[in-house]
Symmetry: C2
Subunit: 318 residues, 2 copies
Amino acid sequence: MAVYTPLSAAELGALIDAYDVGQLVSAKGIAEGVSNSNWLVETTTGRFILTMYEARVAVADLPFFLGLLDHLAARGSPVPRTIHDRQGAAYRMVGGKSVALIQFLPGLSVDFASPAQARAVGEALAGLHRNAADFPHTRANTMALPAWRELFEGCSEEGLASIDPALPPMVSEELAVLGEQWPAALPRSVIHADLFPDNVLLLGERVSGLIDFYFACTDLAAYDLAVTHSAWCFARDGDFRPEVAAALMEGYAAARPLSEEERTALPILARGAALRFMATRSYDWLHTPADALVTRKDPLEFAQRLAFYREAGAAAFA
Amino acid sequence: MAVYTPLSAAELGALIDAYDVGQLVSAKGIAEGVSNSNWLVETTTGRFILTMYEARVAVADLPFFLGLLDHLAARGSPVPRTIHDRQGAAYRMVGGKSVALIQFLPGLSVDFASPAQARAVGEALAGLHRNAADFPHTRANTMALPAWRELFEGCSEEGLASIDPALPPMVSEELAVLGEQWPAALPRSVIHADLFPDNVLLLGERVSGLIDFYFACTDLAAYDLAVTHSAWCFARDGDFRPEVAAALMEGYAAARPLSEEERTALPILARGAALRFMATRSYDWLHTPADALVTRKDPLEFAQRLAFYREAGAAAFA
């Protein structure tokens, strides 16, 4: 959400000189990304996003993330290309931290999508799944069910109850149900796994960019759709927006038809998606000082969505 | 230092539509400015900085600040022009806050200038003073000696001593000396009053932008030079950099020769400049939580510079 690491003009200039992108003209620290430092960089040849990876992103995962961007961009998905340095490297080290230069993409993130925008998002997500089919690398989902369980354990029952007394029974019941019913045999893909509105750039009703792939991994394609559904189809007051959900589903199916098994699994996958964001948000809520640099996100927002998915079942995906 | 106020894509789009600058293409919140929210905005016709003024900037002062930018830009000073809306207004209101759209200028801020860069900064500052000569508006310096006294009173002796036991006697002695010896009869001008390295954009050795005029006011031109001297002519370890200081003085005098009275007054003006930043930094140090969003700046840095100016006298401006 902020620039954590300052870079001097001299450091920035030396870094940009390592790439064949012209002379550095401007660099502005931007308030973007979950836990990396980002600059909007302008050179004599174009604009780029410079990302410095802070603790949360493992250097060992960078070849997967950055190679994925190149793979998807080459196949026409609206994702930023990785700019390689003069030696061909996808990332470099500066002061003990890894940095990457990626293509700048135009567009703005909306808070609440129109149905036409949701349709475009669904289509772009399906395109991503299709275009990733021949990506040769895999990465385990470190934010799957075992991680949710661990995160909730790290919250403790008392901690969870301090957020809302209804949480502890809801969470343990849900973990049990999902542990039993989680589908294993559905089509797998590289998935974005975090396609919230702030990770999508739009120009009007067109998706101009899918960004922030730092949770991308190999998992069920339909789970990615469920994550996106849980992130896009609710109003500010928490109400379900059926016309946005229908458009998202329609856009997705237009580019990648869902199998009967995938459709049937969506309600349980969406409960998993809601629980996944409850898990990280609850943990961060209890472990982040209220006055810290990072804005804490309300875990109850997703508790409400989980309750909705339990209640609505297949109707949420009609 | 950060984006304090979120603006939705819809709000940004509606705002940009009020200007004749084309369609909104991108907007990134940038980590810039003392206490305003800033976005780097791209439209189909160019790039702009959108500033939303938070509490510290009075709306009543905006016509002065924004009109000054237009005046200086028209006379060739490297300052960003104010973009006026379709009705000709220099600023607008959005959700109870005033916003202005200003020209984007290329360039980077250096931490430590080379002599050639310092010379260019001196010349740009003198050019600003010359070009402001026929600016028809005035604004009192709200950060002059009476304000320093008030800020130190707001620190209390115990508070100051908690930063460093040497501060209370240093401050009271200095306030007394400056109260007696402050020159009144020197040439007045519109001054920037805060021309630190982060408020100057450079492309190599050329000044491409003077920015952040939100302390600009009417006061002694030589005091502005003293402020700039105190901000630019010291190394990271606090050591005076005589070659940078000489270049700054030379650049200034090349564009606006100093009178004998101004030269004579510089040592006392520089002590005032150092005390001014000690005052605001001490106050902020004692009144800002250590873990707040804003980085606290060390008041002792300027206590050290004050001691230097007391010791060096005219030699600092040779």
